[in-house]
């Protein structure tokens, strides 16, 4: 008898939950689809009304971000986000979003994520990207005096043990362009890859060019950037798929580009980082 009561209760609970879920389903999708999005400050579809909520990973690194944690007051991406907020007429609020979570299904708890995320066609099917705001090349970092520092072509790199942070387009670059004989080692963070380079477990660390130069200048004593490789990759801001705010951010971004602000930001934060010899294909 008891069992029957439990079964009934369970069924009822299930139906109740399901019906609640259905009600929720109608609310978020109903607005914004189809018609032109107005980009006036008051019409912007924001996560938090009256604020532009922008996410990035923690820790965030210079030269992309400068200043106190979650209260960045500079850096290329930090300044760019502030500039976007400014043009949309909104105050800016920083939140933390680990990269691996940035493509989880469901509603995002921010307006967009800016975290050196490269735009790729596969990723674009799952999330929305803004237009590119930085042309990202791959960089190869090694310890001074090791044989790999003599490499000038992709072919020269094949025989070495390369490592990179997992989940990056650098890994894709290693696997598809360099195709090293020993495969690639992958690490949870660039810091781990750095430790492996220090310990001699890998011959070179591959990551985006700017990061390699940063590591060379501030983190790994006696390291050199072997070269950069242009992969035609663009960094983009990441939006939940179908978020109409993307249009308005793109509008602001194209203004920032056309009036020379983006160039200024690049000169200010990234100039020292981009003058590195290029690794050729053969």
């Amino acid at each position: 008898m008891d069992t029957r009561r439990i079964v009934v209760a369970a069924l009822a609970t299930g139906l109740l939950l399901a019906s609640c879920a259905e009600e929720q389903a109608t609310s978020p999708g109903s607005s914004g689809d189809g018609q032109q999005q107005s980009c006036a400050t008051k019409d912007l579809p924001l996560f938090e009304p009256g604020t532009l909520t922008v996410a990035t990973d923690d820790p965030a690194f210079p030269p992309w971000f400068e200043g106190p944690r979650r209260d960045y007051n500079g850096g290329y991406e930090g300044d760019l986000a502030a500039e976007v907020a400014d043009r949309l007429g909104l105050p800016l609020e920083w939140v933390t979003e680990p990269f691996n979570k940035s493509y989880a299904p469901g509603q995002k708890d921010y307006d967009f994520d800016i975290n050196q995320i490269s735009i790729t066609p596969e990723r674009d099917q799952v999330v929305d990207f803004s237009d590119g705001y930085f042309n990202n090349n791959q960089g190869i970092l090694a310890l001074e005096g090791t044989p790999i520092t003599d490499a000038t072509t992709v072919e020269d790199l094949k025989g070495y043990q390369l490592g990179t942070q997992v989940g990056t387009t650098s890994l894709n670059f290693i696997n598809t362009v360099i195709q090293p004989e020993a495969g690639a080692k992958t690490f949870d963070t660039t810091n781990d890859a750095k430790s492996a380079l220090d310990a001699g477990q890998i011959d070179a660390l591959v990551t985006d060019l700017v990061t390699t130069v940063y590591l060379r200048d501030f983190e790994i004593k006696g390291s050199v950037v072997v070269g950069q490789y242009p992969t035609d990759e663009q960094f983009g801001m990441l939006f939940e798929q179908g978020n109409p705010l993307g249009e308005c951010v793109n509008k602001a971004l194209s203004e920032i580009k056309s009036d020379g602000t983006l160039k200024k930001l690049q000169d200010k934060w990234l100039q020292d980082y981009l003058s590195v010899p290029t690794v050729t294909d053969s």
């Binding site: 369970a10 299904p105 099917q125 890994l171 492996a196 001699g200």
Partner: protein
């Protein structure tokens, strides 16, 4: 979930989950409750699963979650790999290899430490103290820290032989060090469970301390601790994934690479299925051993 679990010790007629409902099995217990228990447990299981399925299916994001976790296209790609991402199944062989090698080493090292810990006599105090310190440290320090210390620390030392091993080797060493500390305690429980009178009897028969341990204590001790040992090994199977922090691409890491490249989690589902496929046979085998041991001891009690 199973109604059989709690009543198993008292009522041998109640079925274990997964056991087919044969008439003999039901007949062994109370005739009144046997059939009904099966019926009730089956019904409640079905209802439970249906409720879960209904909730998931009607959830507002069910289609997107389904696409993100169970898309056939992505499951296939994750299994076979793409030019930019490794095959999760291929990477899983590294887990199996790490597990196989580590398991053998753990069984040996832990046995040595356990035996050292139970050597009597004041002269052996330093050895015993060392064994105690090792088990305390090994169980207390997080595996991930041991992995980092050995995987990045030892090669950093610049020693001749020890500093030029592969990251998989360092990973196995870290797993062996940590898991041996647990397994030592399992062995010790087994050794302590052998009654003192057995040792006294063996010594009275003229067996040396070594022979007493080797032929009287250990055979009984090890047989008793096989189920908890296997339990630890199931944990070990899953922890092989942690070796990836040192750089090698095993199944969980391959899944992560695929996920980040395609923005899809189906690869994690593939990895999970592989781990389950490795773990479940061992878990069932453990159950089987426990059951056999229980039956054997019951027989012993009657005679």
């Amino acid at each position: 979930m199973s109604t059989g679990e709690s009543g198993r010790d008292r009522d041998p007629g109640v079925l274990e989950p997964g056991t087919p409902a044969t008439p003999q099995a039901a007949g062994r217990g109370s005739r009144l409750f046997g059939g009904r228990a099966v019926l009730i447990s089956t019904t409640s299981t079905i209802v439970f699963l249906v409720v879960i399925a209904v909730i998931v299916a009607l959830a507002p994001g069910s289609s997107i979650v389904g696409e993100r976790f169970f898309s056939g296209f992505h499951l296939r790609q994750a299994i076979f790999g793409t030019p930019g991402t490794p095959s999760v199944v291929g990477a899983f062989f590294l887990n199996v290899r790490i597990f196989m090698i580590a398991e053998v080493l753990i069984l040996a090292l832990a046995l040595v430490v356990a035996v050292v810990r139970s050597i009597p006599g004041p002269a052996f105090f330093p050895l015993r103290a060392l064994a105690v310190a090792y088990t305390d440290l090994g169980r207390g320090v997080p595996l991930i820290l041991v992995l980092y210390m050995i995987g990045f620390g030892v090669p950093g030392l610049g020693l001749q032989f020890f500093s030029s091993r592969s990251d998989v080797t360092y990973g196995i060493v870290a797993l062996v060090l940590v898991y041996s500390a647990y397994v030592t305690e399992v062995y010790r429980a087994g050794i302590d469970s052998v009654h003192d009178s057995q040792v006294a009897a063996a010594r009275a028969l003229g067996l040396s301390r070594y022979k007493t341990m080797r032929f009287v204590v250990l055979p009984q001790a090890i047989r008793r601790v096989i189920p908890p040992l296997l339990n630890d090994f199931i944990g070990l199977q899953k922890d092989t994934a942690l070796v990836s922090v040192l750089g090698s691409v095993e199944a969980a890491r391959a899944a992560q690479i695929y996920g980040a490249s395609q923005f899809n989690y189906a690869s994690y589902v593939v990895a999970a299925v592989l781990f389950i496929a490795m773990t479940i046979p061992l878990a069932r085998f453990t159950d089987h051993l426990i059951e056999r041991d229980r039956r054997r001891r019951h027989v012993g009690a009657v005679t």
